[in-house]
Subunit: 220 residues, 2 copies
Amino acid sequence: MLQGLVTQEKLVILITRAVLAELREQKRLIPVGVSARHLHISREHLDILYGPGYQLRPLRPLMAGEFAAEEVVTLVGPNLRTIENVRILGPERKQTQVELARTDAFRLGIDPPVRQSGDLGGSPGLVVVGPKGAVVLKEGAIIANRHIHMTPQDAYLLGLKDNDYVDVQALGERGAILHQVQVRVHPKFRTEMHIDTDDANAVGLRCGDRVKILIQGSDT
Amino acid sequence: MLQGLVTQEKLVILITRAVLAELREQKRLIPVGVSARHLHISREHLDILYGPGYQLRPLRPLMAGEFAAEEVVTLVGPNLRTIENVRILGPERKQTQVELARTDAFRLGIDPPVRQSGDLGGSPGLVVVGPKGAVVLKEGAIIANRHIHMTPQDAYLLGLKDNDYVDVQALGERGAILHQVQVRVHPKFRTEMHIDTDDANAVGLRCGDRVKILIQGSDT
């Protein structure tokens, strides 16, 4: 018998490896969150749009202490076309940041760069209108890059670290492998891929669907 | 010398193979055409929308004798929301067919299937409005599948035939490999990939950009 040739110690190592490989395989399947257009807002701008000292009312909790707020705004592009009912995410941030899909940007007549959250230098502006006032943003409109929020535990199992880039595969009749997906690792995150509505509609994904991380170089 | 071991006949075969491989490599790079929402219309429906016997006026020629017409319609979904300025493609077809992106379908409150052109059975309807009347379609709204029009010569060089499915890669900061791309081969076609605005906006493609055909199984 083959087992006769393997010491107990070696067996433990083999089993551990098999279990780790299986765990890793499972960890590669992660849920998707689809981000519709939204904005993060500074305290100063919230004062103007909703009134001095106004407190955002949480509608739905997101990860890492953020939330979708009850409050919405209307965006007006330099072409004077509008998008209504754009939701504010709380809590307030240092800079106001409007995250759009390319489809939204065409409607508003602006050409935002693909950026990670917070990187707003040189991005186009637009007008944000609230019930108490309007703000003319000089910059702040971006198309969020494809990214995955990941727990340190999952990142460890997958051999990934913060700011790595991976490919991600969605199956189905509109399936695709999405390149250039940034991995963000933080203890406050739960593991979830965030894509915008253009990506979601193109590849047929909805919130909660699962996609597969293709570790760099090993799958494609 | 190595050449001393190769007969002239073998050299010709080797050179031919190298040239064919290079040609094939070049043929894999094909231009993209982005299809915005549009409709094909039956003679009967054109009579209702634009008047009996109305002749579409060609605005811009497309491939295989088709053309974008000057004429547009307004679409109204079952939710009573509208999309204006939807262009008619001519000439008339046997069935009226409305091709939407998923983004458009959300706006109109319908859920069209992903289909190849002409395959309309069980697809949702909507209301089409023209300057002379309106048509209530019982079915006809689809999301066109990703497809490549290809000349028989290009198909031969690439080892592809009509109705094959391939993967296609777009590079860039929103790059992706699109699965499930149908190949259509016909002598009247010129080789071009057709995708809708959701795919184009998701992966950062514009009309005339080049993408690469990844032959089935060999690249991914």
